[in-house]
Amino acid sequence: MAQAIPAGQKWWSGGKSPFNVEYGKLMMWYFLMSDAFTFGAFLISYGSIRFASNGWPDPNEVFRAFPFAPESLHLPLVFVSLMTFILIASSVTMVLAVAAGHNRDQKKVTMYMIFTIIGGILFLSCQAWEWTHLHGEGAWWGRNPFPNADGSKASTNFTNFFFTITGFHGFHVFSGVVINIIMLIKNLRGDFEKRGHYLMIEKAGLYWHFVDLVWVFVFTCFYLL
């Protein structure tokens, strides 16, 4: 976009949007800021409690199962890598939908939005499987069957934080999928074509990328560290 702006542009002399973005998009950014602080508060309280604990469960022992794989097979990180891949891929299809929107290509927007929605649903299914599996192992809010890495008895902090934070993130993914479905329907109705721009797709895209961004941190904090 930089080339469309004349050099020495005076943004604050009136008559122009000083930030050169549409109002709704700017507000989406500020909403995402506040949401980032909510997730930040969750993750930092998790870190704070973890630093205050003498022991903590080893994520490679907890997250080692894969659907349809025998219980004896230890596959640490494999399933969560798949989930990460799905979410990154759906972020890519989202940004391709935004690019198609810039070119006012209604058909391509539809196609990429469908891919993005499928990615979101796949991610949610993976999470549902993981939660079910962990619940089957005896883990839930208020109960933790996994001992600490050093073999001592663990408190329920680990499971409480895990289910709260991945649950809050999963809820964001769910709302993102709903928003994307609404955008898909509006696109199919030709609303954006009539309006002459696809800024709504961009705003939904910002939200969707943010969900991906949060997952990057959840992935690091719970599965890697």
Binding site: M1, A2, Q3, A4, I5, W11, G15, K16, S17, F19, N20, V21, E22, Y23, W29, M33, G40, I44, G47, S48, F51, A52, N54, P76, L77, S81, I88, A89, S91, V92, M94, V95, L96, V98, A99, H102, H135, E137, G138, A139, R143, P145, F146, P147, G151, S152, K153, G196, H197, L199, E202, G205, L206, H209, L213, V216, F217, T220, L224, L225
Partner: protein, 144 residues
């Protein structure tokens, strides 16, 4: 649209949104994630000998921040917005630096103090328990 003009809805040129740039970012993100997994796997296969846990965690944090940068800058297009907008996002986000240092430091300090002054707590955390997989299934509340 509104009566206030922006150049955002004209888009003859869109810096980071070309398909090539998108795919490049995708490969970078995928590459970083695979590299993280590679490090984790080496760490597991060498029974935690290499790379050492502290080095590994530092690497994870740096790589995570790199991923966050690419998502925000390219996918969310922030790098191609004008500077004032970038600053209203980036400057408040710097609060996280203080948040993380302060709260992790505080958690660690609480652990040290508690271990020093609460002997019972310290002793309890030294007792080993049997691994969960050896417990009978009926004991697990989730396995009904």
């Amino acid at each position: 649209m509104s009566s206030i003009e922006t150049t955002a809805d004209q888009h003859q040129d869109h810096g980071g949104t070309g398909v090539k740039a998108i795919m490049r970012t995708f490969w970078i993100l995928l590459g970083i994630t695979l590299f993280e997994l590679l490090l984790a796997t080496i760490h597991l296969k060498t029974n935690g000998a290499f790379p050492p846990k502290a080095v590994l965690n530092g690497a994870y944090l740096i790589l995570t921040c790199a991923k966050a940068f690419y998502i925000i800058a390219e996918f969310m297009h922030l790098r191609h917005e004008i500077k004032n907008l970038i600053m209203t996002i980036a400057v408040p986000a710097l609060l996280f630096v203080w948040f993380i240092i302060a709260f992790l430091w505080d958690g660690n300090s609480y652990k040290e103090l508690r271990n020093r002054y609460d002997e019972h707590h310290r002793e309890q955390s030294l007792i080993k328990v049997a691994p969960a997989s050896e417990e009978p299934a009926a004991k697990k509340p989730g396995a009904e």
